[in-house]
């Protein structure tokens, strides 16, 4: 005869559910049919039923003492009620703050773009001075022909609109930003013209402090004139003066080390208290 140990776990489970009245009506009916046709299952049911009976008839132990609480015990229990979670949370909060501080510092140090130093208010004026002083120097250095460059399409209207006078850019005659210049055929400017224009530029630069309305970046009176035509700024302005220096800012810590140390100490102390209380219980 098949012993219960040989019965599948699924059948054992079904037997248990049958015994504990945990099967649905239909499942129970089906299982009863199986029980009638299988003496092994019937025997297993008998064994299981006997075991259950034995277990449920185990004598009840009497309590060795009352587990009720006295006033003092209750007071003590209530007193310590908030300590454990409080220390736990305090430690967690300190740790999170520390992580946040270190994390944000790390991110700012490693992933933020280096910032340019804000241009000082007098920066544009300095530039002007540098350019003006550099013009004669450039003249002496550069004996090559000066090209009048046209950066626009023929007949186009865009171009030098944004060029202020102090950049010596082209303001084409007749039309803003556009001149009828043959492409690929840079126009040269004669020495005399150049000489004529340079003082003009210098004089323009000398008016640097006056505040006049600009039309497309060009003074009203200079519309239609070639202010300057030389690409000398490459030489004229030293690279240091040309662009604001990109400063790799040496950033100090965002939060003082003392604060971090205090936070770390608090986190450790709270964690220790929490652990002590937890182990005591």
């Amino acid at each position: 005869m098949k012993r219960q140990a040989d019965i599948s776990e699924k059948d054992t489970r079904l037997l248990g559910e049958y015994l504990d009245n945990a099967l649905s009506i239909s499942d129970r009916a089906m299982f009863e049919k199986r029980l009638q046709s299988s003496p092994e299952l019937t025997q297993a049911l008998g064994e299981l039923s006997a075991l259950k009976k034995q277990l449920s008839s185990l004598p009840r132990k009497k309590v060795p003492h009352q587990f009720t609480l006295t006033r003092a015990e209750a007071k003590k229990a209530r007193r310590g009620r908030f300590l454990l979670p409080t220390f736990g949370w305090a430690s967690a909060v300190c740790s999170v703050l520390l992580v946040a501080i270190f994390g944000s510092e790390f991110i700012f140090r490693n992933f933020s773009a280096p910032q340019a130093e804000p241009a000082p208010a007098a920066y544009s004026l300095q530039m002007e001075d540098a350019q003006v002083s550099a013009v004669p120097e450039a003249k002496s250095l550069d004996n090559q022909a000066v090209y009048l460059l046209n950066w626009v399409e023929i007949g186009g209207k865009g171009g030098a609109g944004g060029a202020p006078y102090n950049n010596y850019a082209i303001a084409a005659r007749g039309e803003l930003g556009g001149g009828f210049v043959e492409p690929g055929e840079p126009q040269t400017m004669s020495e005399s013209e150049e000489a004529q224009n340079v003082p003009e530029a210098v004089s323009a630069a000398s008016q640097k402090h006056s505040v006049e309305p600009l039309i497309f970046g060009i003074r009203e009176g200079e519309l239609g004139q070639v202010i300057a035509t030389q690409p000398v700024e490459v030489y004229a302005v030293s690279p240091a003066a040309e662009q604001p220096a990109v400063v790799e800012q040496v950033r100090g810590p965002m939060i003082q080390t003392n604060v971090k140390l205090i936070l770390a100490g608090l986190a450790a102390a709270f964690a220790l208290l929490w652990l002590t209380l937890k182990l005591k219980r």
Partner: protein, 222 residues
């Protein structure tokens, strides 16, 4: 005038209402109400703990811990069966106690002879008073069952104790141990199988149904 007789259902309803009232009072800080609830369930709780821990002192410790823990957690009680909630705290206390025992295994305080050999059962260690078995009148079969229960893994022992010893239904057990009902069923089936296998080893102590199976087994082996 005679007081009207209450049927079983009415009594249960009244008891339930009383329990609800007691719980409300206890949550509001009424220690007497809390103690009444403890008094009502302490025997069930202690017996569950005893079957899980297999030691009276440890069971008493676990039950007391559970009561203190329950008092602290009263404001987290969210309705439902108070007994289930209490038993859940008791089983958790038992698990904690078992973990503690595993961390700090007890060292027998048996003295040694001059040659360094252990003296087993020295006279001064003998307990002249009646043992717990005698006090509670435990039978041999009970010892065998307790032995087999103790041999089960904790998760199986808890389930079989709650269902078969304490008589809780599957749903309640699932709530107590915090698992789905399916898990309770499968754990129970395995626990019962293991118990049967273990009890077969006790031969003469067993009731007829198990002895018969053991004899069959022996015959097959020979």
């Amino acid at each position: 005038m005679k007081a009207p007789r209450l049927s079983g259902v009415s009594l249960a309803t009244k008891a339930s209402m009383e329990e609800t009232k007691l719980i409300e009072l206890a949550v509001d800080g009424d220690l007497d109400a809390f103690n009444q609830l403890v008094f009502q369930y302490q025997e069930v709780a202690f017996n569950v703990a005893y079957r899980i821990m297999a030691d009276e002192n440890a069971a008493a410790d676990a039950t007391q811990e559970a009561v203190i823990s329950m008092y602290r957690k009263l404001d987290t009680y969210r309705g439902g069966s108070f007994k289930s909630w209490f038993l859940r705290i008791v089983t958790n206390a038992c698990y904690d106690e078992l973990r503690r025992q595993r961390r700090k295994p007890t060292i027998p305080i048996e003295p040694e002879t001059d040659e360094g050999e252990l003296i087993e059962s020295p006279e001064w260690l003998e307990d002249k008073s009646a043992g717990p078995e005698e006090i509670f009148g435990s039978s041999e079969i009970e010892k065998a069952i307790q032995h087999c229960l103790s041999g089960l893994e904790n998760k199986f022992r808890v389930v079989i104790t709650l269902v078969d010893v304490s008589g809780e239904d599957y749903e309640t057990v699932a709530r107590i141990i915090g698992t789905p009902i399916g898990t309770v069923k499968s754990r129970l089936a395995r626990a019962r199988l293991k118990m049967q296998q273990c009890l077969r080893g006790f031969g003469e102590l067993l009731p007829d149904y198990l002895r018969h199976s053991s004899e069959e087994k022996d015959e097959k082996a020979s």
